[in-house]
């Protein structure tokens, strides 16, 4: 549980930092790789076993932050990081031999967040319609 919370926190931090750099007109490749390198260097010197997993989580988190600016708000990016950490804990042990597994996990969490956003917008629209109908009758 503590490990998962740490993973969620680190992936949130790395996704927000790479997303911040991208909004400052950095190229996606440079921003995500630099953030990953910083986190990897930070965790490399920590003597805990969980540090290695955290550096891997940070790498995937930075890829999540590579989302186009304006696509997600701060809250939506937080939701995406949370989903990513859940997927990371449950999926990565099964896919660790495959390159791109972290990116794939980040991509799934992005798509899920996007559909959650659409679903929320749709449900809001229906509610507003209902309220206005009720109001006028």
């Amino acid at each position: 549980m503590v490990n998962w919370l740490l993973i969620a926190l680190i992936s949130w931090l790395s996704s927000q930092s790479s997303h911040y750099l991208i909004t400052r007109s950095w190229s996606v490749v440079r921003a995500t790789s630099l953030v990953s390198l910083i986190f990897i260097c930070l965790f490399y010197f920590l003597p805990f076993e969980v540090a290695r997993i955290l550096s891997i989580a940070a790498f995937g988190g930075s890829l999540l932050g590579g989302t186009e600016p304006g696509k997600f708000t701060f809250k939506q990016m937080t939701v995406a990081s949370f989903l990513y950490s859940l997927l990371f804990v449950s999926l990565i042990p099964w896919m660790k031999d495959f390159g791109g597994a972290l990116g794939f996990t980040a991509f799934i969490s992005c798509i899920l967040t996007h559909y959650l956003k659409l679903f929320k917008q749709k449900s809001k629209g229906i509610k507003m319609k209902w309220v206005s109908k009720d109001h006028w009758s």
Partner: protein, 123 residues
């Protein structure tokens, strides 16, 4: 023109894949550090505007993700070439779709690694 486009993207993808894999095998660098180093160094490659610099950097970074694949799956140069070939085809095919979502390049590499794994299990 389209053949030239394929070749340039293939070379970028293969270069990223090869360098990332080589860093792991030769110097024992952990896969995430190898991919991040390859991507960061590759993002400074200056090429003429004709070559669509951004797309080449993206292909190189996608290649570095593919290079993270375990050496149990990527057994040598032919497999590196195969994964780069599949990755480049997927990269070019997916260009108009799902742009702007983080992790798209990783997904391309993941699917290529999965395809190589399937290839190995079939042949």
């Amino acid at each position: 023109m389209s053949f030239q486009l394929f070749i340039t993207k293939f070379l970028a993808f293969f270069f990223g894949c090869f360098v990332c894999h080589w860093l792991q095998l030769r110097f024992g660098v952990i896969p995430v550090a190898a991919a991040a180093l390859t991507g960061f160094a590759g993002s400074f490659l200056h090429l003429p505007k004709f070559y669509d610099r951004k797309a080449l950097h993206a292909a190189l970074y996608a290649g570095s993700f593919a290079g993270m694949t375990s050496s149990h799956i990527l057994l040598g140069l032919p497999y590196l070439l195969l994964i780069s070939m599949i990755g480049t085809i997927l990269f070019l095919w997916s260009r108009p779709y799902l742009n702007g979502f983080g992790g798209k390049l990783g997904t391309i590499s993941f699917l290529s690694a999965l395809a190589v794994m399937l290839w190995r299990s079939v042949w």
